[in-house]
């Protein structure tokens, strides 16, 4: 990955994204991730900004794909967060237990899974129209088409078509996640 002119990030695998897009898409997610270590929101925002800046100024680093870049961001934010905690440890009187926990690799990995998934879920629903959003929210709760239809006072056919629209939108929005088209989603499985 190199940060080229006009703010493009070019990966070794040939993909290319605008730094601005990468920033805007992921900023909130990374802040919430940072908040798993630090309670002050402003400090979190600072840390995430600094981490983006590190990427911006790296220029020479080679990442093969978006995945590597995201991993790098998580790692950097976590390290900066731990540094911050260690610095203010004395004033804030963080307990030793807390420190041990947040320093562990376990904590990092489960936080990453948590935040990465949650943010995708949030984005998925946020971009949908209110009707589609409602259908999907219920689907995520585990309801079958028939149950969703009853709940929302719609026909099953309408529920299915809302789902179709939703998934089409999602595939476009989250192309890095949806590589394969599946028609199975519309049916109850």
């Amino acid at each position: 990955m190199t940060v080229g002119g006009k703010g493009h990030i070019c990966f070794a695998n040939g993909e290319e994204i605008l730094f601005k897009d990468f920033f805007k898409t992921n900023f909130a997610k990374f802040c919430v991730f940072a908040s798993k270590f630090i309670s002050d929101q402003f400090v979190c925002e600072d840390i995430v900004q600094d981490s983006f800046l590190k990427v911006w100024e790296s220029g020479e680093n080679m990442f093969d794909a978006e995945l590597s870049l995201v991993a790098f961001m998580y790692k950097t934010i976590r390290n900066k967060s731990l540094n911050h905690i260690k610095h203010v440890k004395i004033e804030e009187k963080y307990s030793e237990d807390f420190l041990q926990e947040v320093e562990s690799e376990e904590y990092l990995l489960s936080s990453v899974v948590n935040e990465e998934t949650n943010y995708l879920l949030y984005k998925a629903i946020k971009t949908l129209s209110p009707q589609c959003g409602q259908v999907i929210k219920l689907h995520l709760k585990g309801l079958k088409n028939k149950e969703i239809a009853e709940d929302l006072n719609l026909s099953v056919a309408t529920v299915k078509s809302h789902k179709m629209v939703a998934y089409k939108q999602l595939r476009e929005e989250l192309s890095e996640v949806f590589a394969v088209v599946t028609a199975l989603i519309i049916m109850d499985l």
Binding site: F23, K24, A71, S110, V112, A124, K126, L184
Partner: protein, 381 residues
């Protein structure tokens, strides 16, 4: 990092799984991950139970646009581009017209030269062979050393040879609108601006390190007390021990100069009294008659003279004609005056990343002059 990447992948699979059925293989990946640790199963369960409204609350408390603006200003703090029309003007792009004299320079249409298409940086080897920089191969065989090329960084690196005493010179030619970075075999780093030529030995043999320069270059000289480094130019020789400085022989302002950033240098030429520079000082020699036989010492703000290396045009009370000469060289264009203009002076910084059009726009907004860009010619109206 691999473990981390795997977990990000798992997260994305879980997301997909929540919406649809996954391919057998993907499901198997999640199952395998769940098997590994109880912690993993806990996370999985938590995700299943999350409420959208909680998520919404968490993420929407963050003002992304505001943060982006903050971030942008951090990345641009080194490159100041001010368009007076934005109203930020005053402190950075200030014009004060001192119509000292009328600048008279009218070109006839017939004298216009059609300029060459963009030329590439060239390297002349010891054998006399003149090749394009793109044709320099990794680990190329030279009589007394090795070269490696980093084409993404526009950089050429020479590595020291082992005990070979042959003196072989190479010349790097950077054309107009060019820029190049060179690392000599002793580790000295050189940045070459547009329209510059540097001749240097592949390997430094003997008790001196000597290079010859025509144009503008910024040197970060590797320290070596035993072998002083000397930059020879037609009007000024600069002798250094281990230091950082900028030499400009373009004569844009009728002068040739050296600006010292760090260390100590001595400038000399023929019978002209030598001058020793300290950091923050400039040695200047006027080459157009008056004051030609001396080096003048000046205290300067070095950043203005080094800005080009960081991709910025930096002007401090610089005349329009001098600015245009720099622009001509960097963008490889020619200025045509269709009328007499009064000399004007500028103070400001413009990022060299900008297109020529944008740069001319900035100048236009600060001045009475209008530019029209046609191909490779700038017409002054």
């Amino acid at each position: 990092m691999e473990l981390l990447k795997r977990h990000i992948k798992i997260a994305r699979l879980i997301f997909k799984q929540r919406f649809s059925d996954l391919e057998k293989d993907d499901n198997a990946q999640i199952d395998a991950w769940l098997e590994e640790k109880e912690e993993n199963r806990n996370v999985y369960q938590k995700i299943k139970e999350v409420e959208y409204s909680d998520l919404k609350h968490r993420y929407e408390g963050i003002d992304v646009d505001k943060n982006w603006k903050r971030f942008e200003s951090k990345t641009q703090s080194k490159k100041i581009r001010i368009l007076p029309s934005l109203g930020i003007a005053a402190s950075i792009a200030v014009i004060f017209t001192l119509s000292v004299f009328v600048y008279n320079n009218i070109y006839k249409e017939s004298e216009l030269i059609t300029l060459n298409p963009k030329q590439s940086v060239r390297l002349v080897l010891g054998s006399g062979e003149n090749i394009k920089i793109g044709d320099v191969k990794e680990g190329m065989k030279l009589a007394s050393g090795n070269i490696s090329v980093d084409s993404k960084e526009n950089k050429l690196v020479y590595s020291a040879s082992n005990g070979i005493d042959v003196i072989e010179n190479n010349t790097l030619i950077v054309p107009r609108a060019g820029f190049y970075h060179l690392v000599l075999s002793d580790g000295t780093k050189v940045w070459l601006n547009s329209d510059t030529k540097l001749t240097y030995p592949v390997s430094f043999v003997g008790d001196k390190r000597e290079v010859t320069l025509s144009g503008e270059a910024y040197f970060d000289v590797a320290h070596n007390k035993e072998k002083p480094f000397v930059v020879r130019t037609s009007d000024m020789d600069v002798r250094v021990l281990g230091t950082v400085f900028n030499v400009n022989t373009h004569g844009d302002n009728g002068n040739v100069f050296t600006v010292l950033v760090k260390g100590k240098v001595e400038v000399s030429k023929g019978n002209i009294p030598k001058l020793v520079l300290k950091p923050g000082q400039m040695a200047e020699r006027f080459v157009n008659g008056v004051g030609e036989n001396e080096f003048k010492l000046k205290e300067v703000d070095v950043s203005q003279y080094l800005a080009w290396k960081d991709g910025v045009f930096s002007f401090r009370g610089t005349s329009l004609s001098e600015i245009l000469r720099k622009i001509e060289r960097y963008y490889d264009v020619k200025t045509v005056y269709t009328r007499n203009i009064e000399e004007e002076y500028f103070t400001g910084d413009i990022s060299r990343d900008k297109s020529l059009k944008s740069v001319l726009n900035v100048l236009e907004l600060s001045t009475n002059v209008k530019f029209e860009l046609k191909g490779k010619r700038i017409y002054i109206k």
